[in-house]
Amino acid sequence: MRHDHVITSKHLSRADVETVLDRAAEIAADPSAVADRHAGALLGLLFFEPSTRTKLSFETAMKRLGGDVVDMGSVESSSVTKGETLADTVRVIEGYTDALVLRHPKEGAATMASEFVDVPLLNAGDGAGQHPTQTLLDLYTIRENAGLDDLTIGIMGDLKYGRTVHSLAYALSNFDTRQHFISPESLQLPREVVYDLHQQQGGRTGIREHQRLEAVLGDLDVLYVTRIQRERFPDESEYRKVAGEYQIDRETLEAASDDLTVMHPLPRVDEIAPEVDDTEYAAYFEQAHNGVPVRMALLDLLLSEGGVSDE
C-alpha cells in the first residue's frame, strides 16, 4: 500500500484492500485494543463541501483511536473566503496535524493537495472524481455479506456524477467480479471510467451496462443503489419520470435472489422505500456504521507506518 496518501481507489491493489479490511475486522472485533493507540495524534478535517457521515465517522474513528481532530469548519468562516488557494491552506494545516482529510468540490483537488504536503492525506471526495474511503467501507460491507470473489454486483442510479460509483468500480476490478451498471442513458458511466475499467480488467472480469434493473436483478448478489439528483435534469417532470424507474421497494425485490444484499452510500431520498429497511436484504445502515472501523483501520495504518506512532 502507498502508505503516504489515499487519493484514488485506482491506486489500491487487491493486497492493499485486504490489508485494510483485515485490520478493520480486527478493530471491529475488539475496539478497546486500539483505544489509546494514537493518543496525542491530531487529524485535520478540511471539508470544503457539506458532509455528515464522512466527516463524523472520521472524527469518531480518530477519537476511538485515542486521537483528536481539528476542524477547519465551514468554508464561509475560513480564510478561503479571503481567496486563499487550496495549496496554501493544506500547507498551513499540515503544520498543525499528523494527517489530513480533504473534501473539495474540484476534481483532482486531492491529487494536487497531496503534492504540497508530507503528512498523509486522505481524499474524502473530490467533485465527481473519487471517494476511496467510502469504497473501502463498501468493500468491507460486501465482503461481510457476500464475499468479494465470484461476485455479481449491480450498481444503479447516477453513474455519471456519482463518485462513490467510480471509486467502487475501480476497486472491484481487483477481484473476480461481474459488474452490471444500471442507469438512464443520460447518467451512464463516463467514458473515461469505462476506458479505465477495460484497461484494468484486461478481459478478466466483465462490465455490462443496462437501462433496466429487471434485466439483471435475479442474478445479483449485491445491488448498490445511488441517488439520482434533481439538478441533473432540465425539468421536474423529466426527473420524476426517470427517477421513478430506479426506485426499489418490496415488490421490486420479489424478483431478487433471497441472498441479495442491498447497499446505498446514503443519504437516500426515495430510491429505496423505507419498507425495505426491515428486510433481510437491507445492509445500508450496517454499511454506514462500517465507516468507523474501516476509517480507524486506515488511520491506524497511515499513522503507524507514516511515522507518528512508529513502533
Partner: protein
C-alpha cells in the same frame, strides 16, 4: 538545406534559408501558429521567424513550415508538437547546413502546455500548479481530473 526529395519544398526552403536555428517542416496544414504557441514563441522577444502555411507537399497534401533563426530547439521542446503535428521533422541548422534532422516523438507527459477542458478540474483555477497531461493511446489525459481529450487538442493550448 539537405535533399528532402521534395522539389517544391526544397524550393520553398531555399527562398528563406536560415543561418543558424531550427526548421520545423511537415507540420499539418494550418497548424503553424499553434506550433509557435506551444513553443511559446510569439516574436515579442525579437526572434526572427518565418512561417509558411499551406505549402504544397508530396507527403502531406498541404503543409506548414516554421523557421526560427538563432534558436536550436531541444528534443524535449519539440516532442510536445507531436500532439498536433505528428509528422513534423526538425532540422537543426548551423551555417546554412542541416546538422541534425529528427522526428518528433510522443512524450509521456505534457506539462504547462494545455489547459484542461473540464471546468470542474482543480488545475483550471487559481492554484499554483501547471497543467499536466499524460499522453495515452489516442489522446491526452489530465493528471488531476482524469479527463481524456482525443480531438481538438490544439484548442487547449495555453496562450
Amino acid at each position: 538545406m539537405s535533399n528532402s526529395g521534395d522539389d517544391r519544398s526544397e524550393h520553398e526552403l531555399r527562398v528563406s534559408k536560415i543561418h543558424n536555428g531550427t526548421v520545423i517542416d511537415h507540420i499539418n496544414g494550418g497548424q503553424a501558429l499553434n506550433v509557435l504557441a506551444i513553443l511559446g514563441i510569439d516574436g515579442s522577444q525579437g526572434e526572427e521567424i518565418s512561417v509558411g502555411m499551406n505549402v504544397p507537399s508530396d507527403r502531406l497534401a498541404r503543409k506548414d513550415i516554421v523557421k526560427v533563426e538563432g534558436r536550436e530547439l531541444s528534443q524535449d521542446e519539440v516532442d510536445v508538437l507531436s500532439l498536433i503535428a505528428p509528422d513534423a521533422t526538425i532540422n537543426i541548422v548551423r551555417e546554412y547546413d542541416v546538422v541534425e534532422k529528427h522526428r518528433v516523438e510522443r512524450p509521456e507527459v505534457v506539462v504547462g502546455v494545455l489547459s484542461c477542458p473540464n471546468d470542474g478540474c482543480i488545475s483550471t483555477g487559481d492554484e499554483p500548479v501547471d497543467s499536466r497531461f499524460e499522453v495515452v493511446d489516442d489522446g491526452v489525459r489530465c493528471s488531476y481530473c482524469g479527463t481524456i481529450v482525443r480531438e481538438g487538442i490544439a484548442s487547449l493550448i495555453e496562450h
